[in-house]
Symmetry: C2
Subunit: 150 residues, 2 copies
């Protein structure tokens, strides 16, 4: 199944924004994330609505963080993206008449529900700052001199 990579793309963009003093264009972010600029704009639109980032038009325009990365959790990003579907598997019917189907749905919702709760709480417990710190730690670990990224 094709996987939704918007969370991944967005986190990537946010970390790069955090590392930059100036606004970054969707073109630049797209190169770094290896995807299309329109995808960046489309995806970050949700973050703009959630007031996590701002965008500016014209010369020197682009995308900028609206608050420090230690106050942006992965859960915030997930929410800003519109809480996209987490699981590739699930129930089949919304209102099954069959009692067996209902029991199957209860069993699956129970298991998947718990996993979802854990995932969301995990996402809420990690900030973008920690991702950035992790990237920097690996940067120091390697022997590259400067500005490792794309």
């Amino acid at each position: 199944m094709k996987r939704d990579s918007r969370l991944s793309i967005t986190l990537h963009a946010l970390v790069h924004m955090a590392e930059s003093s100036r606004a970054l264009t969707s073109e630049e972010l797209a190169v770094q994330a290896d995807c299309n600029p329109v995808v960046i704009r489309r995806t970050l639109a949700g973050l703009r609505k959630a007031r996590i980032v701002v965008s500016e038009k014209g010369h020197g325009g682009g995308w900028r963080l609206l608050r420090p990365v230690d106050r942006i959790t992965l859960g915030d990003v997930y929410d800003a993206l519109g809480t996209p579907t987490i699981f590739a598997m699930g129930d089949r019917t919304e209102s099954p008449g069959c009692l067996v189907e209902q029991a199957v749905n209860r069993a699956m919702r129970d298991a998947f529900g718990q996993a979802e709760s854990l995932l969301v709480s995990q996402l809420r417990s990690v900030s973008v700052a920690e991702v950035l710190a992790d990237a920097r730690a690996y940067h120091r670990g390697s022997h590259k001199t400067e500005n490792q990224h794309a």
Copy 2:
């Protein structure tokens, strides 16, 4: 993303098989699960390979359980289906050159990995017998007289 309902369909079929003394045809199972007979055969093929069910051709043929439902866990079914993709979201690149991308991947794999572990252990802890018992409990709870299903 379209959701994979094979686990749901399969559990449904297994419970109905458990309730039946004779073999059930893919046609019958398809009616009960409200899907296509070919989908039933395709999906149950994995269970046959895992020796959870058997199928017989010809008159009186169909699908039958190969062991009691209290010895079939949802995890067994998940495995027999070929451990299909659990999450609709995920990383984007297998081997990203960008250190930021790598850090994002680590963070996501950590969160999603924990959720996956919990889900799988949940699936392993529940047997089809429990789903069946749950369905029967609701059956008694309702006032229908007999043979509630499709």
